[in-house]
Symmetry: C2
Subunit: 110 residues, 2 copies
């Protein structure tokens, strides 16, 4: 559909309902940072500890930890200490939350 397919003498429709994009905006804001997006991309291939991700992303560990805290609160990732070497905190994605993010964003870009 191009613009010229519109009805002749268009009168702006001023009573359109506002789309609900709240969830999509929240998830997009989380993805809108190279470190957070990099973390999510890394975790797509399986769990990683903080120092692994910091090295891969060339960022400082406390910085990565800060971003992980935000994504943890948003429910996108989950942390658990490894049972053998508890010094490392391993992060993994919450697949349900990631699926929710995916569908919320696809709803906007549909």
């Amino acid at each position: 559909m191009t613009v010229d397919d519109l009805p002749i003498l268009p009168t702006p429709r001023r009573n359109l309902t506002a789309p609900d994009v709240g969830a999509a905006v929240v998830y997009a804001a989380l993805l809108a940072d190279p470190i957070r997006a990099g973390i999510l991309r890394l975790l797509a291939d399986g769990p990683h500890c903080v120092c692994e991700m910091a090295a891969a992303l060339e960022a400082r560990e406390n910085n990565v930890s800060n971003h992980l805290a935000r994504m943890r609160e948003a429910g996108l990732v989950r942390a658990s200490r490894h049972t053998v070497n508890a010094r490392f905190q391993y992060y993994e994605r919450d697949h349900e939350a990631v699926a929710a993010a995916r569908s919320a964003l696809l709803e906007v870009l549909r």
Copy 2:
């Protein structure tokens, strides 16, 4: 896969390659605002003029116009005056750019 499926005595892999999330971050930043996300969602159903979208989103027209300018520069939307009533500037999505945004974001959330 859960964390306990990891190899015993894990040694952090510090030589992982950094994923390229540049495009996804740019598109996510554009979606990370209720007005811009609302615009994209509205345009999914066909072209709209600025005043229509401003009314639907309950935002001021110059504010909507500002956001449209950013999305225009990013190539996500395109504007053209209606041939009959040239007072209205009709916006439509650039389907190729939207598809690029979709695949960049899905690559991160894969």
